[in-house]
Symmetry: C2
Subunit: 396 residues, 2 copies
Amino acid sequence: MPLMTPPDSVGIVSPTTHHFDQALTLANGRTLDSYDIVYETYGKLNAAKDNAVLICHALSGHHHAAGFHSLDDKRPGWWDNYIGPTKAIDTNRFFVISVNNLGGCHGSTGPTSINPATQKAWGSDFPTLRVRDWVESQKRLADALDIQQWAAVVGGSLGGMQAMRWSLEYPERVRHCVTIASAMKLTAQNIAFNETARQAITADPEFSNGHYLANNTLPAQGLSIARMIGHITYLSGDGMKQKFGRDLRSGTFEKGVDEPLEFEIESYLRYQGNAFSTSFDANTYILMTRALDYFDLAREYNDDPVAAFSHAQCQFLVVSFTSDWRFSPERSQEITNALIHAKKRVTYAEIESEFGHDAFLIKNDRYTEIFSSYMKNISLNNENISQKTIEEPTCV
Amino acid sequence: MPLMTPPDSVGIVSPTTHHFDQALTLANGRTLDSYDIVYETYGKLNAAKDNAVLICHALSGHHHAAGFHSLDDKRPGWWDNYIGPTKAIDTNRFFVISVNNLGGCHGSTGPTSINPATQKAWGSDFPTLRVRDWVESQKRLADALDIQQWAAVVGGSLGGMQAMRWSLEYPERVRHCVTIASAMKLTAQNIAFNETARQAITADPEFSNGHYLANNTLPAQGLSIARMIGHITYLSGDGMKQKFGRDLRSGTFEKGVDEPLEFEIESYLRYQGNAFSTSFDANTYILMTRALDYFDLAREYNDDPVAAFSHAQCQFLVVSFTSDWRFSPERSQEITNALIHAKKRVTYAEIESEFGHDAFLIKNDRYTEIFSSYMKNISLNNENISQKTIEEPTCV
């Protein structure tokens, strides 16, 4: 147990729950009469209220993005590498708000919450959500906190989709949009992996048609397999080779010995799957992967991403990672090209990394440098900012 | 129902079962006292008995590689594109033998066979097999058929591993080794996909610890998910994009409509998974994926593939496909480079294809041309062969 948190940490933090009584009509026409949103904040809102940054989380993320809940915590929040005093999202300058999305399983209203109509857990009866529903619920939180304009909306992967949607739905309320390792829509291959993961969950008899909480069962094996599929695809082949190769955890290849073999990679994946299966909600996993699959930035703009982005008023930072094959650099280049053709200001950086899609979470000097430079260039009221430049941005 | 088979087909064929009474000691030290091998033959063995070609199958393959079992068959054998009169493996010249591997589920002794010790299906008690066990059992079949030397041993994927192992175990009995879309050993990522598929099978309660036949259950859902994982990874991202994109099979993205959506790719994958789950044996799937994982060509040659291949006496054709990401061209280049350094004669071709790993099964002009040219160059006794050359081979 450390005696204190590191100097560049936001320190000990605790979440806040905001209850919304105003009914929310969702994209699919259904309505949530009331709901809770859990969030954390880091840094201080300035007098001009122009330094607020919204963090949007990805598939298995939540509101605890930085700092520690207690000195006993083994690990800080999921994006602690990039949020904190002097870090890329510098909490000495910015007031950071990190939410748990509606439909999540970390405190915001979702499938594990009580359905007022039945007084049982919603389970699979919880409405299907779209990315725009999250934007709408986040906008209401902004209203409640009297934040009229975000200095930046920032997210990786599914979080990047939310950031892009914000720039189109509420253009006047976003000054900067940072979209990392994301895409304007998923490929068929991505949908295929998500669907296989969902099948693994729903095939588990303990899934009980999504009412496992009411039935006192838990589709742990199905969720574990879903996580294994996800995990493989969020790493890169080279990264796995370097970390695990063909190392054996137990057994031997020796001839004449009949002993079960286990590769290190097998053991690692099973461990990851098991850990996830008891800490995450299966219905939330299904809901989040569906939101990923359904997202299509330009669908209602005649499938023209340039027409879509023409509605944005903010500046953009787009980041991708060389070894990310689920949200490949090509996808980020498509975003960047559409922004250029829509005559928006955009900085694009493709970062060398062996960590696949997970790279957006991991410490990386070049990524830090570009992310920090971009964020430093965001001007705030009452700051006497000398001219800052982004060094050598990699632009398409 | 066609009235006749196509002129370049081997026509109506039927399998033969060979029973072996001589005990076979396996790589893991266990022994099979007796066993059956099912095989098909196409073409005729010549008087010199030097025109025999062995076809080794991949993960879900079997002995029925070409022709039809009856005029009612909707589809011919799995490699009918490349085996037949005037095809790459020209049955006017070659006598082709295609086996169902030991441990398979199409007639050769395997987990669905009766274990003499218990008089019940072997199930998961069937011994774990290595690629070398297949080579040994195939060698015994060659002995039984009085084939002292194969004109060629040919295989794709796991079949290519068998072909390479043949060239090292019985170098004097192989004149040509054709290894297509294969590798000297699997990567950690490949093992990870295989392990996730196995987990999906064993997590299915109907797997019954591998004794589902004895228990009258069937792990169809687990095997279906395993197949879905495999299927995604045997296709390419681009191929899926072209074939399915984000097309919807049912439902709508329209706002205000609460209707379940189904993408075409989801429906396709589920169909493939379901079809496979009732036509293939789950224990065989586990056994075959383990054999893939365990294969490591150079392990017992101090991990030096050049030292390994120095034992080979045959010539090699190595083929890879540009969009194959599970057995990428890089893996085939490693084979080719090792062969070159071992001073073996090798032709390497990287074929442009969008069909991923499955490309090795699919019609492709360039692949046909190179494969045919190579096979035509194999000289047989009593043939007056004019000088043939392989046109523009792509060599490393």
